[in-house]
């Protein structure tokens, strides 16, 4: 039977469409002229690639100091926000899974609504809160904002994992005399860990990528990587550094994801070995 190639052609075009900007990000990390962002000189002659932006990053050049600072701030905030939102999100998922009463239905809408609200609404409402409470914006307000939008994602990811959780395991632990804390740390947590890690990874990516919410609550002078980049785009000679740094991040995340794929490929064999 003849199968239409039309959809395959569209898929090919879409993949190209999705990848062209990424290739460009990688290419711009090697651009010789940081002002015109061009590989050609004024007469249209190709002038080659340069690695000077990479050496600026690794050499701690003064021109990229603020950029690197914002990058480390982003990593710090994303790391802390991930830890806090994993803790809060996991308890939220446990509560939503274990009890089904009025309190939990309110709780569920509290957890669910931030997922569907556009970032800018979360940003402006937090700004209003900080204005009303007379809090000065800075590191802590950014952290609070990031935890707020990450909690829901972690909770939903862990909740999905809890759907295939066999509640009888917990009952069994109690019957065998384990207390609630012991059961949580030795029975539930190990089983939920993959879900928590997945939620945490999601939280980390969302936090490190967020620009809208952060630009509402960052106050003057505190910039994360995305807000710094968006302020840089108007006038800067060091844009290729941004692209070089993004290329490094891309390589790093690809390696990380590759690694997690390798680990998860091993997982099922372990499970069968344990006789699960």
């Amino acid at each position: 039977m003849k199968r239409s190639n039309f959809s395959a052609v569209v898929l090919g075009i879409v993949l190209a469409f999705l990848y062209v900007p990424i290739l460009l990000v990688v290419a711009y990390g090697f651009v010789p002229n940081g002002v015109s962002m061009s590989f050609f000189d004024a007469s249209g002659r190709f002038i080659g690639f340069t690695s000077k932006w990479y050496s600026q990053i690794f050499g701690g050049h003064h021109a990229v100091k603020a950029l690197m600072q914002s990058f480390w701030l982003s990593l710090t905030i994303a790391g802390l926000a991930t830890l806090v939102s994993c803790a809060i999100g996991t308890t939220a998922a446990l509560a939503l899974h274990r009890w089904k009463d009025r309190l939990q239905s309110i709780h569920h809408s509290l957890v669910y609504t931030p997922l569907i609200m556009p970032d800018i609404l979360i940003g402006i409402s937090l700004l209003m809160l900080f204005v009303a409470a007379n809090v000065e914006c800075g590191f802590w307000t950014i952290l609070i904002a990031h935890v707020t939008f990450c909690v829901s994602y972690v909770a939903m990811t862990v909740l999905a994992r809890l759907q295939d959780f066999d509640d009888r395991i917990v009952e069994a632990a109690y019957d065998l005399g384990a207390g609630p804390w012991y059961t949580f740390f030795h029975v539930e947590l190990p089983i939920l860990l993959p879900g928590i890690v997945a939620g945490g990874l999601l939280a980390f990516t969302l936090s490190i990528d967020d620009v809208v919410i952060t630009s509402f609550v960052n106050g003057a002078g505190t910039n994360t990587f995305p807000t710094y980049v968006s302020s840089m785009t108007k006038h800067s000679r060091n844009l290729p550094c941004v692209f070089a740094l993004s290329t490094l991040m891309l390589i790093f995340t690809c390696a990380l994801v590759g690694l997690s794929k390798l680990i998860s490929r091993r997982q099922p064999q372990n499970k069968t070995a344990k006789g699960k």
Binding site: P21, L24, L110, D119, I124, S125, Y174, P226, V229
Partner: protein, 332 residues
């Protein structure tokens, strides 16, 4: 059997409290503050004034309805493009074997591991007035203009009125793609497309492709079968995809900010402008409330539809396919 101590009321509060308090304090309370601010006037020095309805009255200002309409229209355009492109993509991926499915589905999400701002910025350099995309854009404008001339007068008037087309003659110097609505639509489609492909693909993966083959055996041609069997079969996925694109498109801020210039100001940009530059907190709050409504209305419709659909969906699909098969069989 020993009673499960975690089932007690006290335990429930203990486990619920952290997330409940956090989200109540940092999500629900701020939302109420925003709502309260919309019923205040603003003072000249950037503060919040007395309780009054003046903010809502000022929203009738010709500026705001136009911005709200533009945001809805652009979000609609972006959604249509995304769905039209996502349907064949999801179909193509779902027809691959398991190994390739995982690879292609993964590579669709891969671009999202670079910073969003950096990607939008890469687009900005690509849309430079001397670039090749500018040439493409101008040719597209010419095609659009030519098509527009073919339309009857009332259709032309409607399109102009709704903002989809313009009467002005084409002018190469003033039609740059950067700082235009087209740039915003293009990059929004680029950014949201994976979120349209994924839910449709998830639905397509569960779709029984032998139905399509049966339809073809009964004489339905490729596209007819695609439209009448495949599309209704993955309806749930399409609805999720529409929401996944439409909602972030309504809340879009970075893309119009970086690529739309002054020609494409959406609600998001106006909120930011009012809150951070003009220090007009009540106006920003009222616009935020309008945005929340524009998000919640389609969501409510979709949820209502889904509730009704869940019951009927499987039965209706079965009945329709059967009817179609019978009809086609009789015709051939």
């Amino acid at each position: 059997m020993k009673e499960n101590p975690l089932r007690s009321r006290k335990a429930e509060w203990l486990v619920t409290l952290p997330s409940f308090l956090w989200l109540a304090l940092f999500f629900a309370v701020p939302a109420l503050i925003v709502l309260a601010f919309t019923f205040h006037g603003h003072t000249a020095n950037g503060g919040v004034g007395e309780w009054s309805l003046s903010t809502w009255r000022e929203l009738v200002d010709p500026d705001y309805p136009a911005i709200v309409w533009n945001t809805l229209r652009i979000s609609f355009e972006v959604t249509v493009w995304c769905i039209v492109l996502a349907l064949p993509c999801a179909y193509a991926i779902a027809r691959m074997n398991t190994k390739w499915r995982a690879i292609v589905a993964g590579s669709i999400m891969l671009p999202f591991w670079t910073s969003f701002v950096v990607r939008v910025f890469a687009w900005k350099t690509m849309l430079h007035p001397d670039g090749w995309l500018q040439t493409c854009y101008f040719s597209w404008l010419k095609v659009k203009d030519w098509l527009f001339d073919w339309l009857p007068g009332f259709a032309q008037n409607f399109l102009v009125w709704a903002g989809f087309a313009s009467n002005a003659p084409l002018d190469a110097a003033s039609s740059t793609i950067l700082d235009s609505e087209a740039a915003v639509v293009l990059v929004s489609v680029y950014s949201f497309l994976p979120f349209a492909i994924m839910p449709i693909y998830t639905a397509a993966e569960k779709f029984d492709f032998s139905l399509l083959e049966a339809a073809r055996d009964l004489g339905a041609r490729g596209f007819y079968a695609f439209r009448k069997i495949f599309v209704p079969g993955i309806r749930q996925g399409i609805v999720s995809a529409v929401l996944m694109v439409f909602i972030p498109a309504i809340g879009s801020y970075v893309i119009p900010q970086m690529l739309g210039g002054t020609n494409c100001v959406l609600i998001g940009n106006k909120i930011f402008m009012r809150a951070m530059q003009n220090r007009n907190i009540p106006h920003a709050s009222a616009l935020a409330a309008l945005m929340a409504v524009s998000v919640l209305v389609p969501l409510g419709i979709a949820m209502y539809w889904k509730k009704r659909q869940d019951v009927k969906a499987s039965k209706r699909l079965e009945r329709e396919t059967a009817r179609l098969m019978v009809g086609r069989g009789a015709a051939s």
